[in-house]
Subunit: 188 residues, 2 copies
């Protein structure tokens, strides 16, 4: 069943957010999901496939959230701003997502398939930002647009990584205004 795989992937997120990569074991996921390792190993071929599915599902949900954020505004600059703010983890609940993201990134360092999934997802996000930035500043040369889009992505993901470990130094208000400033600067 596919809904069970999704439920298990959500358990993976929960474990990663709470216990980090070290605490991510098949047993911990099973306990979090309220089942035993038997179900986990029945739904997935192994631990690696469990991680990859959770990573892919995370991206699918994020992409859907970005689509909704885009549709929530009309002005090009407002659309870009809405997507970037959505990518940033500004609420405490979303901060768990940032911890999960860092865990996936660290896991990708030793797993080529996870690294490939990460690259695909991040490149899709870069293309989205490039497209939105192209609407905001149509006269911007392609090369400059590529640089500025990557800068915006790095800013947001950097905030995510840093706020996951130190939310006091990187509160939501600071992230929000820094993102707004960066969007304004990129549009010039």
């Amino acid at each position: 069943m596919d809904s069970q795989r999704e439920m298990l992937s959500e358990a993976v997120w929960s474990v990663l957010a709470e216990q980090g990569l070290d605490g991510f074991t098949v047993r911990a996921v099973a306990e979090r999901a309220g089942c035993t390792t038997g179900l986990v190993m029945h739904a997935f071929a192994g631990k690696r496939e469990l991680l990859v599915h959770a990573r892919r599902l995370l991206h699918e949900r994020a992409a859907a959230a970005f689509d909704a954020a885009e549709a929530s505004a009309d002005a090009p600059a407002e659309r870009l701003r809405a997507v970037l703010r959505r990518a940033a983890c500004l609420t405490p609940a979303e901060r768990d997502g940032a911890r999960v993201w860092v865990a996936f990134l660290a896991a990708a360092a030793a797993d080529e398939e996870l690294a490939r999934v990460h690259r695909e997802n991040n490149r899709a996000f870069v293309r989205r930002v490039e497209r939105l930035l192209g609407r905001v500043a149509p006269d911007l040369p392609r090369a400059q647009r590529a640089v500025r889009a990557r800068g915006l992505v790095a800013l947001v993901e950097g905030f995510n990584a840093l706020a996951a470990a130190d939310p006091t130094t990187y509160p939501a208000r600071t992230q929000g205004t820094a993102i707004d400033d960066a969007v304004r600067a990129a549009a010039l």
Copy 2:
């Protein structure tokens, strides 16, 4: 001996850069250092202390490199630019450092002491950027300076994290020009 602890910490970096957090075992570190687990456990009380020492040493070396970068220029804007470029991992050799940084960040999610060390180090870096930015734009209100400094730090660390996993999408030239643009925008 203290030089042995440094040598072991360098072995920790090497293992983290090459095999990630999963490959970080006491045995792997010993093999990389050309010794056995006996020496490792004699030099450190346990695996956790080994990680913490490697993290602290990484910060000390980075701080020294930042001091040197600051001293390499006279103009305030140039100093800020030099420090931020030093913080970014632009050469292939430095990219290992970014992978190590991501691994430490992920490990800090489950280890409060590692998280504390990370926060201390990152806050020190934020203060450094704030101080340099204050020289570049003395009239900037304190609150705005705090926001812009954190934005610069997030940009650089975001580039590090993203380039560690996908150096093709985030080449050195792109990072460098994005950082230069951001410094210019922050100085206004």
